[in-house]
Symmetry: D3
Subunit: 288 residues, 6 copies
């Protein structure tokens, strides 16, 4: 069960409105690597966690924080939209700065939300549940968490360079800091999983004997770029073999004979139209 305080985790006050930027910030709300994703990803990971204790508690602490990040961003967007030229007609535009805003602002922030954020990304595509991963395997999930925080910090850093507003920058400096520590935290939790003997370097920690032993240590050189084998990944005791002239191991990819009742085109048994299906006298009688 959750509780809420109306105070924001960190201040979200722009110095002045900026409707163009309000659209770009949507990426951090409803984008694939925005705050709705980490909110829901951590919540479902916590609820699906099969190890009670430190791991689950860390997940739920972080999940609960992330709901508040969506809140900060939604508040910031509403404030950036104050006085936005939502009802200005294009022909009334007198200067290029307003033209850029009028052309670039998110029409749905006006038409649908009346000057507020939407649960969508910067192109108006709605956030969706397929962005979330909560597999129950903590190694696989913590790796996804590191990746999400890395993309999140990268996008935040890019957006940091797209504004001069001190209020926006102050909030993003907080967000950058949180994304840094969250990356570190999930990296540390991966080490902890290994130290605890719960998982190894490879997810899942299972089926290592069953997997094909001939093919678990080679990189196949299938593109003609000449330098793939020059990386450190091929050297040392953990080095991976670079297979320079790999050959296909399987036979041809032939699909089996079709079910005549489904009318796929097939080799004719007779030399007339519909030959493929003419064998199925009941299911699919053909035209004479």
């Amino acid at each position: 069960m959750f509780r809420h305080t109306s105070l924001l985790q960190f201040e979200a006050k722009p110095e002045k409105p900026d409707a163009l930027y309000a659209r770009k910030l949507q990426e951090l709300i409803g984008g694939a690597y925005g705050e709705m994703t980490v909110t829901m990803q951590y919540l479902f990971q916590g609820w699906n966690c099969r190890v009670e204790g430190k791991y689950k508690d860390l997940i739920m602490d972080t999940a609960t924080e992330e709901i508040g990040h969506v809140e900060m961003l939604a508040t910031m967007v509403a404030r950036l939209l104050e006085g936005a030229p939502a009802t200005t007609m294009a022909e009334a535009v007198k200067d290029p700065a307003t033209a850029a805003i009028l052309g670039g602002m998110d029409p749905q922030q006006a038409i649908i939300s009346g000057g507020g954020a939407t649960p969508s990304d910067s192109q108006g595509y709605p956030w969706n549940g397929r962005y979330v991963i909560a597999s129950g395997n903590l190694l696989a999930d913590f790796r996804a968490n590191v990746a999400a925080e890395a993309q999140g910090r990268l996008q935040t850093a890019r957006l940091y360079n797209m504004t001069d507003d001190p209020g926006v920058k102050a909030m993003l400096q907080f967000n950058l800091a949180r994304d840094t520590v969250h990356q570190r935290q999930w990296l540390a939790a991966i080490e902890e999983l290994k130290a605890d003997g719960l998982e190894s370097d490879i997810a899942p920690t299972a089926l290592f004997d069953e997997e094909n032993q001939e093919h678990n240590n080679t990189i196949w050189h299938l593109s003609d770029g000449p330098d793939g084998n020059k990386g450190g990944w091929t050297t040392g005791p953990e080095g991976i073999e670079y297979l320079m002239d790999p050959q296909a191991l399987g036979g041809p990819g032939v699909a089996p004979p079709p079910d005549p009742a489904l009318f796929a085109t097939a080799e004719p048994s007779l030399g007339e139209p519909g030959g493929a299906t003419s064998v199925t006298s009941e299911a699919g009688k053909t035209k004479k």
Copy 2:
């Protein structure tokens, strides 16, 4: 530019058909962490890579391999569907095994594909481009790649336990092996990025001075699970501080006054219906 051989990278021959399993395998084709995702993710990463040489070449070698994995799985699905009871009526079903297949098979593999795979996941949801990340930042992207291969190997391992078919198992043993080595390869490539001085542990390797220094080393204890601070992440020189009683730092999340022309409900200036908007005599005259 690409070339194709009709030989499969590895054999994809089931011992016998299994229409229920053919549906489950769709997850590895068109799921969020299926082979279409890694194919497109690596292709776009390669095309968007700003470092010519070993990194880009490794990406393109792997991308090119992954197209062939989609091919193997699609071929396998078609063969698993051979003789599937697509046109059997429910009332004709005499045994529970067939009932399970009839109830659980993917109707679109019959109705749309005529006995073949679709670019969808095991619930029939189509693969889509939002699964792909190619940011140009190799640290952030390689982390996403490790995560994708980890989830991919996890799902493959689960599917490995859902079949007894030796032919299917043989192919999955190959896939497990490739997912193992691909995890190792991206992990090694991350180390290489650091060794080459291109990136650090945190993505992006930038804005460390700008980020809020007070808040980049704390975990906020916002859920009441008592063990979050008992993990190794809080100890040692790299330990993160666990903030046990964190307080909101911002003011209340108040949205600014609305644009009257957009008709959000607001404090009335007059005591009559539509007071909020009645100030906008031109934009939104209210009913008397």
Copy 3:
């Protein structure tokens, strides 16, 4: 900012697992009228609310409760999936009950979540942000809230009739109760908006003079069902006129001449192929 307790708002303990039902419950988590929708809808309404005080506080109280409903349902799903026959092969099925479960269970709850809930509906379609409405107009939004709680209670009631499990039924009895009171609460809040003079019966409370006065009190009889005009909506002082033989008021729906540079087919200016576009000698020269 939010806080979380690991205790559930209400108990979520099934007497025994039921993997088929675990799939159906997904509708209440990630369906268009599931708990993720009301969670996000109320959160965005609260953050976008332009009237501080009782309305916003009511919205945020309810929003915060709804996150906990997602939690209860996700927990219930994980418990219903305990011991689910995820890895059972169809041919091993000996009885119809297991066949029904094996055919009907959600394959992604096993392959993706490892025995947990996903942010999707009962057909595996992911929850998405377009389900949410937060317009800033409280009358319009509270109506959407009444509608959402009505559909939510209806779906809960249907699911109540699809199980015999006392533990599941107990939780759903709680959910039914909450959906009842939430319907009443939003209906009461609509009356309050009117009593406070903020809104009227019609959303938005504006542009009543501007709207076309001839056409705001008629129902057009365009289908031949004979009884549409027999409802109470046509009688009394508020009765709406039933227009029994309505005629189109506009002219023909003719599209304007196309831009030749966009190659829409148009009346030929010459009697030769591509006549429509052959006038644009620069933009689109045609083959001779």
Copy 4:
């Protein structure tokens, strides 16, 4: 079965083109609360209606009208796009007004439709069937209809303030009028359902005894906004109790032990990597 006249229900003639506005109007065509939604929602409600007579006939009359609204809007969009600067290059732009149009217009209205409307919203997101509700429960559905018409009229009102074109305004004045009467009509139909004894105030009119009687009359104060209990919803004979210090009623949200064959991380039974899964000697043998 349907019939069509080429005359529009109401005139749809702009005084002059406006490509920027043509994009915004897409919201009324293919948005979540656009005309495609009410068209399909009412059609499916009518086809799924279990009460022959006045209700169904009213639904079908309205549904049939709405198809014609999509037609009016699509025609308007095509006319607003006449002479749109689809092929103008940015560098050729000399004035801010054109810059705003060029930046803000919908590229797909040119590239895909050749100067016509698309079945998408103002951000280019396609209309989809999840916007539609047709539950068979008329109370729940009529509430959704009131909500849809309210949001529809609100969005139309906002768009009314975004144009000066007399032709566009005339059409929107018609649309506003229709949205007003449709709100009234569904509100009246809800009263009729009650008068006819078919439904009550709460949907569905069932399971009132079964629902948890302790929890169907309380609002939980879970956010710290102080005014939630000051609304009229807490007073009078129908007043709802405001639970000021609500406590969680359930136990902790613990997920059950995982299926070892699905490789979720779990408490180790042995102190070695992969302990969680090492018990499943057959399903998931771990690496030594």
Copy 5:
């Protein structure tokens, strides 16, 4: 503007219910090539048609018919669901036939629609507007129409083989007939476009001189299947040249140097971490 009669275009009465088949029929309602697609495709084509007269009238006649096909199918689905075992528990199932139905039926047809059709396909994926094409170029669009009717008839034929019910079969025999004549009609309309000199064999009938003349008559042999050049497409006066050993014509696909403010990984200018971005001292200062 449209009108509706409550009589169906053709009878839609199954002899008896079949809930499993009711799910499959959803493909013809809301699938990519279902009746909602042709309805909306033809409507938007008609509204966007730039040639008044026979073409537009043919399109609108057909569009109007297709709405009625959605109606027939939705009615059929509701009737097939009569008495569906929606509330039966799996453990109560005694025979394989019921098990197959219980496992395979669409849960949303019960939970959401209360025993009716939804605007979704047979996997529960909602119909969406991206299925529709209405380009304004009649040749391109009529080709899409032929393709849609071909896939539509194919899927109908497959579904015809999946039922024994005489009532269902009678309706599908009508649908098959309509799909046949609609294929013929669009093929004839393509011939008419050519006879009228409006379009040629290739869409659009433009830019033939501008297109690259070296590369508009060759098929590139990029897969090693040996028989591609043995088809009739390579022979006769219209034969296309089969390029047996095609070579890439372009240079390497190198991405340009990145914008430092966006933090893509790039060649280091210095040998320290973050070298790539360390040049941008203002935009992205790096950690020491």
Copy 6:
């Protein structure tokens, strides 16, 4: 299995950057008729092809080429974005040309991709697998291929008119040529299917006797446009009859009685609220 060369199939070098155009080009990458669609469509058709030899080999040759088209376009987009004003603030804009670019460019090409292409269309909507058709019936699929290449060439032609850049135009001239020959190739392959006696003019070549013979040769005049019967489709030996006053053939579209356990509103059996459901004393007891 596939192989890759780092050389592009054709050069993709713009003379100078153009960020606005880079957004428009996304339509050819990830749009419904973009290169990702033909890539995946032909790949799945090839893998699902049931006729080994010339048809399958032609499909795979073309499929393999199309992957390279995605590559060319992605490379072109990255180059068009070089030096894009991604971090310029609107208020810094001094001229209308930059304003148009700033307003119109794709924010995700900066925020997500760091200056590269995304697998999305020109409105930022992600490519998805429902765009693909691979039915196994070659006639139906080749028709879809002709249609896809026609729309693809049309969109390319439109984009050709939206740029002056010689480098972009050179690449599009290549693409136009390929789209021309691919249209011809699939048209020729359709003739070959007929010459080989595999398929006829109508897909599928089956069930001609079964289809309703009364209704497979009529066009129903359901819209009042007067010229539909004036086309060549009504004349000659293959002429289709134009049914000028068609009448509905079916009965009324009445839905069957509802399942009381699902709470659809129905005729009351008693004169009290919830009458419809009051018969189900166990399943849905009503409030007194």
